[in-house]
Subunit: 643 residues, 2 copies
């Protein structure tokens, strides 16, 4: 097979690849992650690259314009290599980390996390529901009595005896690694050592034995592994203090935007390996930045807890997810043992532990269990709803008596993916929009007050609501008005929110009819799933005590507008509670308390999975929800229209 | 540094070594184990080799005769390499496997093992003391119900549910290795799999998941790892049947005859590695021969249980034994977790489990715990004694109320090591001897009725007793008589048992005054230790209900003669019980029953270690025992002398 050299700029990375391979696959080989929401099908148009030198052949598509062609712009996924190449990957086509400074990110996220924190402090600490501080991994400093002829216990039993004076551990396990070095270590450091203990499947494991007193250095990580976004926090396990939070796009997005395209990709040669590497790379990058910023030695990070949907956890652990998408939709495992992080190629202390919060089913994962845990709905007297608006929209209905969950394939639109100008709620994202009803002039504000880069989830909710109010779109989402901001595009009519002369990239920020359709389906899927679930239990929305909203919206979601577009049911506004990233919050609670770890286990067993697709009423409900706000306006009595 | 090539014959193995290295160290590099009881100090004279070609320099010593020099015979440990060499290693200098046919070995050992078996069947199965058949590793065949939309448990939980229908395991652990392959395996084999479950530190581990029904193939190994001899048995874990038994010299003998010289060697560069490799090589060789002979696939050997003294277990697990010989004599660990055999470089199933029976102290190891278990003295009403006459002579005194143990450095003489013509109780060993009181003519019988190769432990007891009776030696062990069989040697006078024209090697089989001194110290150490232990508890030998004798003597030990030389106390003959290799028997019981495993743990904690060296009366008692039978003849009222 003929081989060619492909050099990627500005990285200046060269890889040798077979003739006829796509530029996208060459980039993956080079370790460069290109945005590819559709998984390489030539549909999403995210993987635009510039071929600077060399010959390529490209499949025809409706995305690359004549102007693009003049500028040598190609879709990486549809363009095959015919000679040595030099390819420029523009910033806008990359799956990169936020360029937010740590301060900006903290500020941006502080709202969210203090909300999650509130639940911890308000609800969890009432009466007997306080979670005792008993982190996943603990350090104990021991100044052991030296052995004598009278007290000649072996080194290991001497260590165990001292540990059991701290706590009556029934079973302590230790690997040969630690035992082999024990004799010399104890004597070299005059019997003063620090033992790192980890909770491991109902036993206690000696993870590490270090010289002297290192109890001050004990850190852990909590993670939410989303299909689109991965968030991680570095936590001081002694003080429970969150040292820092980072979020990044899941680099798996290079292989498709939702779990189904990922599962399909996993079945290709090396597909599982690519997906596994992408998620572990993303997490390792987050971890590296966190420890560097907070001056923590990676060797002092001894454990981590991850929550994610079932497919994400399979990919993290290099487990084949194939059967998740085949009837009867069975995962390899929902409850996983405590592992070493190294087994998932995560770089913390080489013996550090990894726990994945157990999931409920193939489509209701550990992220939902974490959400139920951190939202506290499992202890409410009245029925409550928890919605996590991610790529998979999971919905839980329940209280202290029962918990039922379902999953709506919402798609990543509200995470800013799969829509033309979408982006995550990070620096430069348009998050608030108002449209003048007369001249359709647009006012907006961006996160961090930066030049606009795109539109995040809360921005889209504002936008749709304002376009409805201004009469730019009708209830079906079709663009009806005419003005200078409205023009034809390959994806139907489009409305320009911000012209290129004001944007970061120089390209117009727009919403087109395909985007609107996409967003409508997302909101329809979520609303109808919640509606069916409530009916299934013989209830209606008026019975709901609280409606918890989790997810990556940001803090600026306007409830009235979300109801106006029919994303949320028309309920008393005071019942809605934003809880931010409840999956990440749950991970953190499990990390910090054995009680929470054990409770998460019980909750995952307790939650009943409700399969929407088997309910004949679901498709009807969904079709009715494919309007703004709904076909049946009686369901939205407080919503008023100008149109 | 100048390098030379040394070729060993008849192996035809060549190694490159530095100038001035010894031939012994070159042989070790080549993986050839040469007998070296003294650990390379030039004392034992076991490492005789023939230098066929090349130049060497050799330190002067009293072992190599002028005749030897003419035949180019050197001691490998004292001879340094000065050019490329060709070296012949005679069979007699090697630490090799028995050349017994399987049948001969079985016959030879059957007496011993059926004795141990008797204890199992007679004592252990009385009333509630029956050990339930619950081997270390079990196989369970599962024909799982296929998942449906209604029964959509994940693969792993489906497996757990099915397993828990067999037994209510509280904690089941599974490694990622097994989980990763589970999804495909279940579907490829239509949900019919065999799960191998191992007991692991109070939890149950899924060791393996195999396609189809393989429950018929479940094998385990029990081992006694002695300083001088290693014995292993292959056992069908379904039927409890012992398929075969093998014994071999511990190849560590190349590095010294007792635990102290081994510990000293471990501190040298690569010393620990050499000792570890020697023991694991010996065990792997035993295992390989066992599985080949019995047509068992090594992958179906899923677990093993080892009993050994504390130093042997440290070396097996590559743990530094240095502190065992330094006051206050502390081991790294007496209680070890269940490990994978692969961690000790033992070749069974790559995920197979290894358990070491826990020890009591640095000088009373798991072999003693196993002996207490298999002898059943822990459940007797009356005080009993258990003596294991190995290189380390461990003695336990106790009953169901108390158990006290001590260790006497008996040395390997009764294992046929460290004495001129000594050998293990295997084919060709002289085991019975009678001497005509008139002409000192010798009659003997050998194991397997082969040409005599040397003298085993029971042979030496006969020999000493007969020499005393015939007046060849006096009570101090000095040779007093004169005849054609008695002559001067480098080690004092020597008595020829069998001239070279009748022996396998062509060399005379002899006993000299140094050998007699060696044997006298061994028997004195054992007797005096037992005596001190009995006194320490305020008892005397008349209070002892049973006197269990374990060790490698063979079945032909003559009690009267053992009492006559003062090895055993002068008690009612009916109180003595031979129990063969009680350490191996204990390993087997632990392998076959969880109750025995748990009991071994309790026994190791219960046994009190008594340090002989801190009792001021011990040295006096020992000195008095350095006579045949004893300085104080009143202690041996039934012993009659002709002299």
């Amino acid at each position: 097979m003929q081989k060619f050299q492909v050099t990627f700029l500005p990285d200046n990375l060269t890889v040798s690849v077979d003739k006829d391979k796509t530029i996208l696959s060459a980039a993956i080989s080079a370790g460069i992650y290109i945005n590819s929401t559709c998984g390489g099908d030539g549909i999403c148009g995210k993987c635009r690259v510039v071929v600077n030198k060399g010959e390529v052949t490209s499949q025809p598509n409706g995305i690359i314009t004549a102007l693009d062609k003049k500028a040598n712009i190609y879709l990486a996924c549809l363009t095959s290599i015919q000679s040595d190449l030099e390819v420029i990957i523009p910033e806008s086509s990359r799956l990169n980390f936020d360029k937010l400074t740590p301060g900006e990110l903290e500020e941006r996220l502080s709202g969210l996390y203090s909300k999650a924190e509130d639940i911890w402090t308000q609800d969890e600490k009432i009466g007997e529901k306080v979670f005792k501080h008993s982190p996943f991994v603990t350090k104990i400093y021991l100044d052991l009595p030296k052995p004598t002829l009278e007290d000649n216990l072996s080194d290991l039993e001497r260590l165990y005896r001292a540990l059991r004076r701290f706590e009556a551990f029934p079973v302590i396990q230790t690997g040969l690694f630690n035992i082999r070095q024990l004799g010399q270590l104890l004597r070299d450091y005059e019997w003063k050592v620090t033992v790192t203990l980890g909770k491991r499947n109902n036993t206690v494991e000696i993870v590490l034995i270090e010289p002297k007193d290192t109890t001050g250095n004990n850190f852990g990580l909590s993670f939410d592994i989303g299909t689109t976004t991965i968030s991680g926090q570095l936590i001081n396990l002694n003080s429970n203090k969150i040292l820092g939070t980072k979020a990044a796009y899941n680099q798996q997005a290079a292989f498709g935007g939702d779990v189904i395209t990922r599962i399909v990709h996993a079945a290709k040669p090396d597909g599982l390996k690519h997906l596994h590497n992408a998620v572990s790379d993303t997490m390792n990058q987050i971890i590296r930045e966190l420890v560097l910023e907070h001056n923590v030695d990676l060797n002092d990070v001894n454990c981590m807890v991850c929550s994610g949907n079932t497919t994400m956890i399979h990919l993290l652990l290099n487990m084949d997810p194939a059967h998740i998408r085949r009837e009867p939709y069975v995962a390899t495992a929902n409850f996983l043992p405590v592992l070493r992080a190294a087994e998932a190629d995560i770089n913390i202390n080489s013996r550090g532990l990894l726990y994945c919060v157990p999931g409920v089913s193939s489509y209701v994962g550990g992220d939902t269990t974490s959400g139920v845990l951190s939202s506290g709905i499992y202890q409410k007297d009245q029925p409550c709803i928890l919605i996590d608006i991610g790529t998979n929209g999971e919905i839980v209905l329940g209280n202290k008596e029962f918990l039922v969950a379902c999953a709506a394939s919402a798609g990543p639109a509200f995470e800013g993916s799969g829509v033309t100008s979408g982006m995550r709620a990070s620096s430069g994202a348009i998050q608030k929009i108002s449209i003048n009803k007369g001249d359709f002039n647009v006012k907006y504000s961006t996160i961090g007050d930066k030049k606009p880069c795109g539109i995040c989830g809360s921005g889209y909710i504002d936008l749709l609501s304002e376009m409805l109010d201004a009469g730019i779109i009708d209830k079906s989402g079709k663009i009806k008005a005419e003005c200078s901001r409205i023009r034809q595009s390959d994806s139907g009519l489009e409305f320009v929110i911000c012209f290129g002369n004001k944007t970061e990239s120089g390209r117009d920020i727009v919403i087109n009819e395909a985007d609107i359709e996409n967003l409508k389906r997302s909101k329809g899927a979520i609303y109808s799933a919640a509606s069916i679930l409530v009916k299934h239990l013989g209830l209606d929305f008026t019975c709901i005590h609280k409606f918890y909203i989790a997810g990556g919206f940001g803090t600026y979601l306007d409830i009235d507008k979300a109801i106006k577009i029919g994303l949320l049911p028309d309920m008393e506004r005071s019942k809605f509670v934003f809880i931010g990233n409840s999956s990440l919050a749950g991970s953190r609670q499990v990390l910090l308390s054995a009680q929470a770890m054990s409770l998460a286990d019980k909750l995952a067993s307790k939650i009943t999975y409700f399969e929407l697709s088997v309910d004949p009423a679901y498709m009807e409900e969904y079709s009715q929800a494919l309007f703004f706000p709904h076909t049946d306006l009686a369901k939205f009595p407080t919503v008023k229209f100008n149109g």
